[in-house]
Symmetry: C2
Subunit: 197 residues, 2 copies
DNA sequence: TTGCAAACAGACAGGTCTGTCTGCTACGCT
DNA sequence: AGCGTAGCAGACAGACCTGTCTGTTTGCAA
């Protein structure tokens, strides 16, 4: 059974349709605000099917976050691969964010929103895993770029990453991501050994 | 009728007790998760009193956010006043955040959490007002410090401010605020005219 | 003392939420 | 052909939520 998202075919399984519906509704309106009935109606799936597939709403939320994690990993990986210089690869994440924030349907970080809504659910593991991946990715790229303290630089870039999504959501201003890239660039100037830009 | 928070006296009015209860419960568990019944039970107030005082839960939430706005304004004002150099005054906000995040009851930015939970409520005005105040305060302090582009610097510091609260909440790590201050310091080095530290 | 306003206690209505359960349908495999 | 599994449709239970309404109590002031 494939867990991949529906790729436009009408032959998507119930699980795929549920995840697609959850992705749209949960992200747009919040995991707490959207009820099960809305999800199954949009997915065209019976309620019993949802519960036999996922067990509970909580686990559907966790699965929704996992699909977003995978999508973001894929997206960032492609953006990084497209760039050659270590410095540009470090900044690629902010270009991705700028792309996402440019869309008017952007609602910030799905993980930040989910944890703000639900307290101590099974989504916590998905959130921790996602954040560890973001941090680790920044740290790897920082090490590749020859940063003196890759962990410290990764932490600072992660702060800007979080701030950009939060700020873009609350201010409805896609320019936040560009400002974050500019700030990140300044941090790189200070943290990387001198080299031609 | 005073809108100030209860100052330890047992003679607090119903409105004050409601705001104190809302402040504790809404911040700790979320404005959507906590029901009216919990608030009035904790405040020791009748339900009818809440509705005659605030009109609706939505307006109680807005009032709760306003009290937090006032508390933060007071707190930041004191921290800024305690410092002399323009540079230290610009960084004072991050010291305040570090103080707050050190407490284990810290749950991040109340405004970010509230907007993640409730969609298009009357809280939006309170959030917009708060964010404009934060941005404006950074911009003033940046101008006082002689920044070449105070608005741009304020935007970058605001990003770090948002990132620190979001990150500290999700990672349960108070060190985020210290890292934010370190990053802010680097940004100041680049944005302020050279001067002795 | 009488009157009034504020606040308390709690029942109630109407709606929504998650999760379970009972039938029914339809397709694939043997 | 027949069987089994996956899935659809929808009723239902039990809990919780907001907001209203009816009384009762308390304290102050004239």
């Amino acid at each position: 059974m494939s867990v991949e998202m529906a790729t436009g075919t009408t032959q998507a399984t119930a699980k795929e349709r549920l995840l697609a519906a959850a992705n749209e509704l949960f992200y747009r309106e919040g995991v707490h605000t959207v009820g099960i009935d809305r999800v199954i109606e949009r997915a065209g799936v019976a309620k019993a099917t949802l519960y036999s597939t996922f067990g509970s709403k909580d686990e559907l939320i966790a699965a929704y976050l996992e699909t977003r994690h995978n999508a973001m990993r894929e997206r960032l990986r492609r953006a990084v691969d497209r760039r050659r210089s270590p410095r540009a690869r470090l900044l690629a994440a902010f270009d991705v964010q700028a792309d996402l924030a440019a869309d008017e349907s952007y609602r910030g970080c799905a993980f930040a929103n989910a944890t703000a809504e639900s307290h101590g659910s099974s989504a916590d593991a998905a959130v921790a895993s996602y954040r560890a991946w973001v941090r680790g990715t920044f740290a790897e790229l920082a090490a590749d770029a020859g940063a003196r303290d890759p962990a410290a630089l990764a932490r600072q870039l992660h702060l800007l990453w979080d701030g950009a999504s939060s700020s873009a959501r609350m201010d409805h201003d896609p320019a936040s991501a560009r400002a974050a890239k500019a700030a990140a660039s300044v941090l790189l100037d200070a943290a990387l050994p001198a080299q031609p830009k």
